[in-house]
């Protein structure tokens, strides 16, 4: 096998692995939520059953929707999410095989699922989906600003290295970025931005049930809806793995480090699920004021501390 086709096989295995990990993580999320609410919760195969069921339903396209854009939008979402999963998994496993600027590429790729949802919601021909799409646009503007400031701080702390592999190896030499004041600030800001990126309470505003029916995904049914759920599963794994890569030294697969890596992942997921279960949903103006106010000021403080080596 040539090295090109070997890389392709690695990519396919990594993307499949991250998909399975995403389904398991979404089950863990629902089970922990159930236990916190003193109930039993769904069985382990529930996310798989949801997706298989959706694949067997018919696809309904509203008369007033733009048919081609409506059906293509989830496809772009799942393409962006799986590409980000493949790139991140590959660089986590082989830190020296990234390329210059792959952190920037990864941040762009992680934005594609959100934009595809906006396009899909906007082309649905339903006013509630349009409201959901406009809220998602505002939410993206809100959380991307502190997210990028923290990524800039991490690049500076790793010696102006724009390669994700370089950031990971800088941490294996000099200790995790998390164990510094700017690292802790960065972790808090990335965690809040991840909560908004994943569309989880308190920031599940675009997809607000009981308020705008189904929000941005109101008109989707059947296989396109299954693709949207799979995209969300991908993001549920890729975003914590990204936090692990930039702040906690990535994953290492030799000896005891495997348990350590699993523990890091579980800690981030536990934070996300606990924030989800203890907060009500906020309004979109409260969310944008929150992200552009306290969170951005915190991120800029972290950036300044990071430049001076703290």
């Amino acid at each position: 096998m040539t090295s090109g086709s070997l890389t392709l096989v690695y990519f396919m295995l990594i993307v499949t692995g991250i998909l399975v990990l995403g389904l398991v993580t979404s089950w863990v999320d629902r089970k922990v939520t159930a236990r916190v609410q003193a109930r039993v919760g769904p069985p382990w195969y529930q996310p798989l059953a949801d997706i298989l069921k959706l694949l067997g339903k018919e696809t309904l396209v509203p008369d007033q929707a733009s048919r081609n854009v409506f059906l293509l939008a989830p496809l772009f979402g799942i393409a962006g999410a799986s590409l980000a999963a493949g790139l991140l998994g590959y660089v986590l496993l082989f830190p020296d095989r990234g390329f210059l600027g792959d952190v920037v590429v990864l941040v762009y790729l992680l934005l594609i699922p959100a934009i595809s949802l906006i396009i899909g919601g906007g082309s649905s021909g339903n006013p509630m989906a349009v409201v959901g799409a406009s809220r998602e646009m505002k939410l993206i503007l809100g959380y991307e600003l502190p997210y990028l400031v923290v990524i800039a701080m991490i690049i500076i702390k790793s010696g102006y290295d724009f390669r994700l592999g370089g950031i990971i190896t800088a941490q294996s030499i000099g200790g995790w970025h998390l164990w510094s004041l700017s690292g802790i600030i960065g972790f808090i800001v990335l965690l809040l931005a991840t909560q908004a990126k994943l569309g989880l309470v308190p920031f599940d505003i675009p997809d607000a049930e009981q308020e705008i029916m189904g929000g941005i995904i109101t008109e989707y049914s059947g296989p396109p809806l299954a693709m949207i759920k799979v995209t969300k599963s991908f993001l549920l794994t890729v975003l914590p793995l990204f936090i692990m890569a930039v702040l906690m030294g990535g994953i290492r697969l030799e000896g005891w480090s495997i348990l350590w890596s699993i523990l890091k992942y579980i800690v981030i997921i536990v934070f996300i699920v606990l924030i989800r279960n203890t907060n009500p949903r906020v309004r979109i103006d409260q969310a944008v004021k929150f992200f552009w106010g306290p969170v951005t000021i915190l991120a800029i403080a972290g950036l300044v501390l990071g430049i001076y080596g703290w």
Binding site: R39, G41, L52, K53, L55, L60, T218, E219
Partner: protein, 143 residues
């Protein structure tokens, strides 16, 4: 049994259709979806849009005003789907059967739109949440 049919049995998503009922059945349906009865064990989840639903929980007797809207809603639900007639009003209209306003019972209306519709009857006024769970279990076994 195909994989998608297995998925349908293990993950029926529910949409609540209230066709101007007296709201007793609605209160019992909302009770059903609270943590005390924990229907998420069966994969049941309340969804906000009929396009995402597999089960339509219909309460109230259909009247002339709501009839075209219910027909539109049934067509908007992605098939295969199951219609649950919750409560005596949806089953047979009880005391409203000679009213000036009501149109035939629910199963007559649904079978006119879709002769192959699957309809489950949960009697009671209002039915207890345990009765609704029994109806769901029997429907999933027969699916």
């Amino acid at each position: 049994m195909s994989l998608t049919r297995w998925g349908l049995k293990k993950s029926p998503w529910v949409y609540h259709v209230a066709l101007s009922p007296c709201n007793n059945c609605d209160i019992e349906i909302l009770d059903l979806l609270t943590p005390r009865f924990d229907v998420e064990r069966f994969g049941i989840k309340l969804v906000g849009s009929p396009r995402h639903a597999d089960v339509l929980l219909v309460s109230g007797s259909i009247n002339r005003h709501v009839l075209p809207r219910f027909i539109e809603l049934y067509k908007q639900t992605a098939k295969p789907c199951v219609v649950f007639a919750i409560g005596s009003c949806a089953l047979s209209m009880t005391m409203f059967r000679d009213s000036y306003n009501t149109v035939g019972p629910l199963d007559k209306v649904v079978k006119e739109i879709d002769p192959n519709a699957i309809i489950v009857y949960v009697p009671g006024c209002p039915p207890k949440p345990e009765a609704m769970i029994l109806g769901v279990v029997k429907a999933l076994q027969a699916l």
